[in-house]
């Protein structure tokens, strides 16, 4: 066993240039200095509100964008533009929208078979067909439907096709970008269980991106919380859920709608004032200070960096609570 993590992201930055008007160009810091690791067979949950950069982290890490700065190591090897094609086989992605992420002109067999074609993972036509049938059954679909088109499947089934496509190349790591948020509750549970079963069976590591904290808490062994392009708190899932110390995480967790009327009546919500500031016009210092109850002058000066609180629990705050 190697002792380095499977995925090691160091100081990842992803800036976009946005035209404010004809002349002015602004820099949008979608991901600003983010570091984390994911171990073999582990799930790291990544949560945050829309626009906080969680999807961009996933995409920059897979080099679907060209990162502005920072390094990504896969199994100890630095990933560069030259060797990324080699590592695509090990790192796959499942997208949020099962409707737009499948080509409507391809049959299920072609969609699942395409990665096999690209990476030349079969010798004969019969082998290809067999592999496709295997993958399709692995994710709980009927292989008799291989010649159907995407629109003939329901949302949950489409998401399964997306998972089968990701699994086709035997990846060791999958970025799951909001894979269940477009699905109905009863179907959500089916897909979550499929992800879990695949992890048990194949030992795949996940970066599980979602805004639904109940789902993330269920899936992940560790959770990272993002706010305006930065990780503000990261740690073991139970620690983050039950003993959050960053004021933002605390309000995020207190805002989860609990499917339990008694608990909902007893609980005190911490209501944040105002909206998320525009990432084009970020406040100096801590990005959360404009909505934070505990903000002091110190927070306006320099942005706090992640400090260890023990047991792998890190927080970026000058006034950690609790």
């Amino acid at each position: 066993m190697s002792n380095h993590p499977l995925i090691d992201v160091r100081n990842l930055k992803q800036y976009f240039t946005v035209k404010a008007d004809m002349i002015t160009k602004l820099q949008l810091k979608a991901v600003d200095d983010v570091s984390f690791t994911i171990n073999q067979g582990e799930t790291l949950g990544l949560v945050g509100e829309s626009g906080c950069g969680k999807t961009t982290v996933g995409r920059a890490l897979l080099r679907l964008y060209k990162p502005t700065a920072g390094e990504v190591y896969f199994d100890g090897n630095l990933i560069t533009d030259d060797n990324i094609d080699h590592y695509r086989k090990d790192m796959q992605v499942v997208f949020q929208d099962p409707y737009s992420s499948l080509n409507p002109r391809m049959t299920m067999a072609d969609i699942v078979g395409e990665p096999l074609d690209i990476h030349g993972l079969y010798k004969t036509k019969a082998e290809r067909k067999e592999k496709i049938a295997e993958l399709v059954q692995l994710v709980g679909l009927n292989s008799d439907h291989a010649r159907r088109y995407a629109h003939e499947f329901s949302g949950g089934q489409r998401q399964r096709i997306g998972i089968a496509r990701a699994l086709a190349v035997n990846p060791r790591f999958i970025v799951c970008d909001e894979p269940v948020s477009a699905l109905d509750v009863s179907i959500q549970a089916q897909i979550i269980n499929t992800f879990e079963e695949l992890q048990e069976k194949l030992g795949i590591a996940y970066l599980f991106i979602a805004h639904d904290l109940l789902v993330v808490q269920h899936m992940s062994s560790r959770i990272a919380v993002m706010y305006l392009g930065k990780i503000v708190e990261v740690g073991p899932a139970d620690e983050i859920i039950f003993h959050p110390v960053h004021p933002y995480t605390q309000s995020l967790i207190s805002a989860i709608p609990l499917p339990d009327p008694k608990a909902a009546r007893e609980r005190r919500r911490i209501i944040l004032q105002g909206d998320v500031p525009s990432p084009l016009n970020m406040p100096a210092g801590c990005p959360f200070r404009s909505r934070c109850r505990y903000a002091t002058e110190e927070c306006a000066q320099v942005c706090p960096s992640l400090e260890d609180m023990g047991a792998g629990h890190q927080v970026a705050c000058y006034h950690p609570q609790g």
């Binding site: 509100e49 829309s50 329901s154 949950g156 089934q157 109905d184 509750v185 009863s186 179907i187 959500q188 549970a189 089916q190 979550i192 269980n193 879990e196 805004h211 904290l213 109940l214 789902v215 808490q217 269920h218 899932a237 139970d238 859920i241 039950f242 309000s251 995020l252 207190s254 805002a255 989860i256 709608p257 609990l258 499917p259 339990d260 009327p261 008694k262 608990a263 909902a264 919500r269 209501i271 944040l272 909206d275 998320v276």
Partner: protein, 336 residues
């Protein structure tokens, strides 16, 4: 007696969409009542008919949708028999609605003030100054900061949460008796969702209107509703107080829904999903629509639609398994 508390009474409502591929029965005979000043939640998955219910109540169904049978009694009067003209003045002043998507339900080419004043002008005969004052008052009420400035802004200049507040202000401007909220927080982030839910509860206390809250999120429902209706394939599965539905669910579908969401804290316990896929509304079965996905389905479930039975005074369920349970219990009681 009943007239003083029951505001809205829906009796055996049926709504269908007459499409080229046949009649889609979106609502198949639902009945419920809403009391003054209560929050009623309607929960169900996509295609269960919860939004169509709201559209039917307000008569804003678009072609080819039509209410085919039933009554909607508002203060004892059937609004389905109202003329188009009468409906125009009724809508917005007595019952108003906010929609899921605050991005698309405001007109992008008019200012917030323009749209808000229009809503007030149509339903009241206030002067220009009074209309303006009322618009300001409403924006302040829903917690929009700098209301004067906002009135002059266009929808795209406001964030999602702000836009939803403007929608709520517009809906409440004429002091309706009922506010229908169709997935009002689904498009919003968790912390903004908490703000909006808090605001709705606060306004409900202050203004005393009744709210019909339509959502697929069991968490939102548990948070703010007094009474809950669970819908599946255009029928009411179960109806009762929030505590009854969550702690004593009697319909197999409700039980399945509650089992399939991760609960706070219970990490790494496997979820129990509901098997199969939602039913095709073009081919509704003659029995219970949920029977094909139900583990405890019996012969009768496939042939006869379940009857609504009263579990207790706060709870009604339409499930044959539940009927059987009650029967078995009664029999056991007799034997002893």
């Amino acid at each position: 007696m009943s007239e003083t508390t029951t505001l809205l009474q829906v009796n055996d409502l049926h709504t269908s969409f007459f499409t080229n591929s046949g009649e889609v029965k979106a609502i198949n005979g639902i009945s419920f009542s809403l009391d003054r000043g209560k929050i009623l939640g309607i929960v169900g998955e996509s295609g269960s008919g919860k939004s169509v219910t709201a559209y039917s109540l307000l008569r804003i169904l678009t072609d080819p949708g039509r209410v085919t049978a039933g009554q909607v009694l508002f203060n004892g009067e059937d609004i389905l028999t109202y003329s188009t003209q009468k409906m125009h003045s009724f809508r917005g002043s007595r019952i108003s609605m906010i929609f899921q998507d605050p991005m698309t339900s405001l007109n992008p080419v008019y200012t917030i003030g323009n749209q808000l004043r229009e809503a007030i002008r149509i339903h009241t005969d206030r002067t220009r100054e009074q209309v303006h004052a009322r618009a300001l008052e409403m924006l302040t009420l829903v917690g929009v900061n700098e209301p004067e400035k906002r009135l002059k802004q266009y929808p795209h200049e406001l964030s999602g949460g702000m836009r939803q507040r403007v929608m709520i202000a517009m809906a409440l401007a004429c002091e309706p008796d009922i506010l229908i909220a169709d997935e009002p927080t689904t498009a919003l982030d968790v912390t903004i969702q908490a703000q909006i839910l808090e605001l709705m509860q606060e306004l409900q206390h202050k203004l005393g209107m009744a709210i019909i809250m339509i959502t697929h999120d069991l968490g939102v429902i548990a948070d703010i509703c007094d009474e809950i209706i669970v819908m599946y394939a255009g029928r009411v599965c179960e109806r009762g107080t929030a505590d009854e539905i969550f702690y004593n669910p009697c319909h197999e579908y409700t039980k399945g829904l509650i089992r399939s969401i991760p609960t706070f804290g219970s990490t790494h316990e496997k979820l129990t999903p509901i098997a199969g896929n939602p039913v095709d509304l073009l081919k509704l079965p003659s029995g219970c629509a949920f029977a094909s996905r139900c583990d405890r389905a019996m012969k009768i479930c496939l042939s006869d639609p379940p009857e609504e039975i009263r579990v207790n005074e706060n709870h009604i369920a339409a499930c044959w398994v539940n009927v059987k349970n009650v029967y078995d219990e009664a029999k056991e009681g007799q034997d002893q």
